[in-house]
């Protein structure tokens, strides 16, 4: 199997709020985040503290403006839960330290703030990471899919450009493309595919990558489609 997930896995995230607007806002951001980070995500909405909460293991966004604080004591003691407090009340920030949350966000928190919060909770969603597992001669290459930002065909092999450096896989680009989720990956021409998050800008039919300023040509018939995908990607992040 070339493209795999670790056994058992999705990252579990719950949003505990009675405010539907906040739930929809966070759901949209978390869905976009999971797509970009290539994380398999199970997202839940709690409108009250579930009786079965102790079986929950993952990340809990708690809307402190709409739920009852008195129920917090037990949650604080649960080592399997990473708590993120959401509140418009800045004065609550100090009081919230006794619950030992990972962080404190305003309800208007955007994509970047939520992404930073998720970074801090990495051990709690690590099991949801999607992995790339490819052969290289007699060995295997294994890396989190989100670390791949560009791949280039080289005959029957593929050069993988990753955040940690460059490596080679004994696997054709066409086959790799069939295995990757799209978005966030895009086949911009026969010989290249890129992660949308790695694109700094598109100018004159070329993509310029943010990590190494590499210029990737885009095939003429795909320019429009790629422009639309990039706009949608930027819109989701905004």
């Amino acid at each position: 199997m070339e493209f795999s997930q670790l056994p058992s896995a999705s990252a579990c995230v719950a949003v505990w709020t009675t405010n539907l607007k906040l739930w929809n806002h966070l759901r949209q951001i978390l869905t976009n985040w999971s797509q970009g980070a290539c994380v398999s995500l199970h997202l839940d909405h709690w409108d009250c503290l579930l009786d079965q909460w102790s079986a929950f293991s993952g990340i809990l966004f708690l809307d402190a403006d709409s739920v009852d604080h008195t129920q917090m004591a037990d949650l604080v003691q649960a080592p399997q839960i990473a708590l993120i407090i959401v509140s418009a009340d800045h004065q609550l920030a100090i009081q919230a330290y006794r619950w030992h949350p990972v962080t404190f966000l305003p309800p208007s928190a955007g994509f970047q703030a939520v992404r930073r919060a998720m970074d801090l909770c990495f051990p709690f969603w690590r099991q949801g990471l999607q992995w790339l597992d490819l052969p290289f001669h007699r060995d295997r290459i294994r890396l989190p899919l989100c670390q791949l930002y560009c791949a280039e065909a080289d005959g029957r092999e593929t050069i993988l450009y990753c955040t940690g450096g460059q490596m080679r896989a004994s696997f054709p680009l066409g086959k790799l493309w069939e295995l990757l989720p799209s978005p966030p990956f895009l086949r911009c021409q026969r010989g290249f595919l890129v992660h949308l998050g790695a694109v700094a800008e598109m100018t004159g039919g070329n993509l310029i990558l943010r990590y190494d300023s590499r210029v990737i040509p885009v095939s003429r018939k795909q320019i429009k489609e790629i422009q639309e995908s990039l706009s949608q990607w930027e819109f989701n992040k905004a």
């Binding site: 800045h90 920030a93 100090i94 006794r98 030992h100 404190f104 970074d119 051990p123 690590r126």
Partner: protein, 240 residues
């Protein structure tokens, strides 16, 4: 167990009161305490070395460098040091989350508040603080888990490599492994238990340790060792 604490406050009375509370907590919990105090952020930073303190209590309003700026520098130079603000200020709650401080005590606080903060530290920063005790060459030795590089067995004796020193004990590696019971340690070979935090890479079938030593990986554990090493390095570096 041992705990190293820094109390930084420009007001002598507040500094001593908090230091007394920390001492009382350590006495009641049978913890060996190393307590340092500083009268300013500058004094704290001039004495800071990575790993010196497990936790630092910081006042915010101080002459010279503020507690916020001191916390930023501590974060950069010693990310493992837990930080607790102990202050009259009610205005820095949000920035505390950016600095990943562990607790925020508003003066006047009491012994119970300090106890709760330190209880949390001991329960949740276990890997930083936990120790391993054993008898080595007729003496009783206690070392921090984080300082152990690897453990190997030679001729029914376990050799524990700690910061360039080697302690030998008659305890079996199985018993040491079961006492350590931490994701940070990986049994890569029947005779070797390695601290992943001190691994700098894998070379063929060996772990390359930070000090250049090679620790062998058995053939059957090679794939698991690679995955464990990858998981650990992701956990350490994610988002940084």
């Amino acid at each position: 167990m041992e705990l190293s604490v820094m109390v930084c406050d420009d007001l002598e009375e507040d500094r001593f009161t908090l230091a007394r509370m920390v001492q009382r907590y350590a006495d009641a919990s049978h913890i060996r305490l190393t307590l340092d105090t500083a009268a300013s952020g500058d004094e704290l930073l001039s004495r800071l070395t990575p790993g010196k303190w497990d936790v630092a209590f910081l006042d915010i309003y101080m002459p010279g460098i503020s507690g916020i700026d001191a916390a930023k520098q501590v974060r950069e130079r010693d990310p493992a040091c837990a930080l607790i603000f102990a202050t009259t200020s009610r205005e820095h709650g949000l920035i505390g989350y950016d600095l990943q401080i562990m607790d925020y005590l508003v003066k006047p606080f009491n012994q119970g508040d300090v106890n709760s903060a330190l209880d949390w530290l001991l329960q949740n920063r276990n890997n930083q603080i936990r120790t391993l005790s054993f008898h080595a060459d007729w003496e009783s030795v206690e070392v921090r888990l984080r300082d152990i590089s690897y453990i190997e067995v030679r001729q029914h004796t376990s050799l524990i490599h700690v910061d360039g020193r080697v302690f030998s004990t008659r305890r079996s590696i199985d018993s040491l492994e079961s006492e350590i019971r931490s994701e940070q340690f990986f049994r890569c070979h029947r005779s070797f238990l390695v601290n992943l935090d001190q691994v700098s890479g894998i070379q063929k079938r060996d772990f390359l340790m930070a000090d250049g030593t090679l620790v062998p990986i058995s053939m059957q554990n090679l794939a698991r060792a690679r995955q464990a090493c990858l998981n650990w390095s992701l956990e350490k570096s994610w988002g940084k």
